[in-house]
């Protein structure tokens, strides 16, 4: 393992891989710092650039975007009180008060160094666990895969805060997208409604790009009244000078906090399609609960920044584990990576690491080196980032849309994919407006085919349906699905009762 990792590191520091990694990380830092531009959108923008590259070059660029985005998001959170991305919301709670109290450099670099440490601890887990988990997954038959995918869908749908039914329906609609076109086992045409393009099924990348990019762009556009800039005013005179050794010591002298926050980030990352926003809030909440001075949280203490930033970078490692060991995207960013792998003819899943060892260890190495690259970008460039976030959205959004069009078109050089982008762009915006979560939908689109294939394979191998329950791993996974669903139901009931009680109090 260490030999392969060493070879991966030696590989990734070559100029042909380091340049895309550097550019990806730079774009990620900028995208992460821009409020209103998520890491998902940034990775979607980068996607078309990877089509002409080798697989490892493209994936290095995307991993750079992911790591850079998670790190860059804290810049505006700390210095302006505006989170650059959802996974930096909790960083704002203590980062901005600390900056306002006259320590902007300390707030910023506490976040950066906590991101680096959290990310590197996550790398240990990524390298050590992906292989064994993939080996475990190799023992899976179609029953286990079917149950695993059902678990993934039920967990994501259940974790939706607004409505459990909407979460489930969103996942089901995602599966509906995959049943249009040829059936994946015998290739028989079905439900094409006479549309020739549908005969080959709907490609998932234009769906993903359309849903995520347009849902976000249009949600921003609806709040625009003209040429509003990303940020209105930036105090460019503030000093960000700080003793880095002191800041590092502030983090390392709290090892339990660092390790626990990293662990939370990893666990959330491993769970499908939840993402860094949950990791960062949960880690912040845990840090507050276990703190000896919880009343100080929100006033600008280092624990809040460390917990939030260590967890969101570790979350990246967790997401990469899930995609590399099981072929299930841990979040929207890894869903795009899954698409990039597919374009290059690489199948992710349990066999990925054994069949593509150079690529897999190259990805591990890219993840590790991306942290150093992010640091190298931020050390001299933080002040520049504050200028870049001044770019007007009126310029940014049309350019992002053009790159989305290229990304969809270049998949197989057909304008039909651009029409898919348009249709699902409108659909995605509609889903957001009606309160439907996007994550279960996308997971349904990605896993729908696999659920069907494994269901049919299982039935073709043995028509006894009880095998789904009596095979230990499959049964365990289905039981976990039921428990996850029950827990979500209980949680929703509790929230509803609490809301009703609060309304009752207000009424009387």
């Amino acid at each position: 393992m260490f030999e392969l990792l060493g070879a991966g590191l030696a590989n990734i520091v070559q100029a042909k891989y380091l340049v895309p990694l550097f550019i990806g990380t730079l774009v990620g830092v900028v995208g992460g710092a821009l409020p209103g531009i998520t890491i998902t959108m940034t990775v979607i923008v980068v996607l078309p650039f990877t089509f002409g590259l080798e697989p490892l070059q493209g994936l290095a660029a995307m991993i750079g975007v992911y790591v850079g985005g998670e790190t860059g998001g804290l810049i505006t959170s700390c210095l302006l009180g505006i989170p650059g991305k959802p996974s930096a919301v909790a960083t704002t709670f203590d980062g901005f008060p600390m900056a306002k109290a006259g320590e902007p450099g300390r707030a910023l670099w506490l976040g950066v160094w906590a991101s680096i440490f959290g990310g590197l601890l996550g790398a240990v887990f990524l390298v050590a666990s992906t292989g064994p988990l993939a080996t475990l997954a190799l023992a899976f038959g179609p029953w286990e895969y079917f149950s695993l995918f059902i678990l993934a869908l039920s967990m994501v749908a259940g974790l939706v805060e607004s409505s459990l039914v909407k979460g489930l329906l969103s996942g089901a609609i995602g599966c509906v997208v995959t049943i249009l076109g040829n059936d994946p086992v015998m290739g028989k045409e079905r439900l094409t409604l006479g549309i020739k393009f549908l005969e080959g099924g709907i490609p998932f990348l234009p769906v993903l790009i359309g849903v995520f990019a347009f849902a976000q762009i249009m949600s921003e556009v609806q709040r625009m009244g003209g040429g509003r800039k990303a940020l209105q005013a930036v105090d460019r005179g503030l000093s960000l000078a700080v003793s880095h050794l002191r800041v590092m010591w502030e983090i390392l002298s709290r090892p339990v906090l660092l390790l626990w926050s990293t662990f939370i980030g990893l666990v959330i990352g491993v769970l499908p399609a939840i993402g860094g926003s949950a990791a960062n809030m949960l880690a912040y909440d845990q840090a507050k609960k276990f703190s000896s001075r919880p009343e100080k949280f929100g006033t600008g203490i280092p624990e809040g920044i460390i917990a939030s930033e260590a967890s969101n970078n570790a979350n990246v490692a967790g997401s990469l584990v899930t995609i590399m060991a099981f072929g299930i995207p841990g979040d929207a960013v890894t869903a795009v990576m899954l698409g990039a792998l597919t374009i290059h003819g690489i199948q992710s899943g349990p066999l990925f690491i054994s069949q593509n060892a150079t690529l897999a260890y190259g990805m591990f190495a890219a993840y590790i080196v991306a942290h150093a690259v992010a640091l190298a970008i931020l050390l001299p460039g933080v002040r520049w980032m504050l200028r870049i976030v001044d770019i007007p959205k009126a310029i940014l959004f049309p350019v992002v849309v053009v790159l989305c069009v290229i990304g969809a078109y270049a998949l197989n050089n057909t304008v039909d994919n651009v029409y898919v982008l348009l249709v699902f762009g409108v659909f995605g915006y509609g889903m957001v407006k009606f309160g439907f979560p996007l994550a279960p939908f996308i997971l349904g689109v990605i896993l729908g085919d696999q659920i069907e294939i494994n269901l049919i394979r299982a039935v073709m191998s043995d028509s006894d349906p009880w095998l789904f329950l009596t095979r230990p791993i499959s049964g365990g996974l289905l039981l976990a699905s039921v428990l996850s669903f029950a827990a979500a139901l209980w949680q929703h009931r509790r929230v509803q009762n609490r809301t009703a009680a609060a309304q009752g109090d207000a009424d009387f």
Binding site: M186, I217, V401, V402, G448
Partner: protein, 144 residues
């Protein structure tokens, strides 16, 4: 969603089974569409029941006209790609979208709009076609 899933469910009933496979091509779609229809129905009923007791929420101050126009513009861009080609349609789209989101004032403003549009089309075309060997759409009317 309820009606769409019911229509599609009806269509799956016409799918013939294959003698080589114990379950036909309509088996899984029927499960998915059945679940979708059931969940949609649940939502419709829950919404109808909740509407009676719910107080109307204050309307948010959102610029839906701008969203509609942006989608319309994007639709026109998608349609124009096949006829005008990537470069010309991108110049027109970026200029129009930029002008719509931030209406230019005076010659300087229009100059900025034109510059952003031309630069976007030129740079993306250069990078993708020349360096990344990604072919971009050619227009049937323009030939480029």
């Amino acid at each position: 969603m309820l009606s769409a899933s019911l229509v599609l469910f009806g269509l799956t009933l016409g799918l013939k089974d294959n003698p080589l496979v114990p379950i036909g091509p309509g088996f899984y779609p029927r499960i998915v569409l059945g679940v979708t229809a059931a969940l949609s129905l649940w939502l419709v009923v829950a919404d109808a029941a909740g509407r009676r007791s719910r107080k109307p929420a204050p309307a948010p101050d959102h610029n839906y006209l701008l969203v509609g126009l942006m989608f319309l513009l994007f639709g026109l861009y998608c349609g124009a790609l096949a006829f005008l080609g990537y470069r010309l349609s991108t110049v027109l789209y970026v200029a129009a979208a930029n002008a719509l989101l931030d209406p230019p004032r005076g010659a300087r403003g229009w100059g900025r709009v034109a510059l952003v549009a031309v630069l976007t089309a030129f740079l993306t075309h250069l990078v993708f076609e020349r360096y990344l060997t990604v072919l971009l759409p050619r227009g049937t009317w323009t030939g480029f």
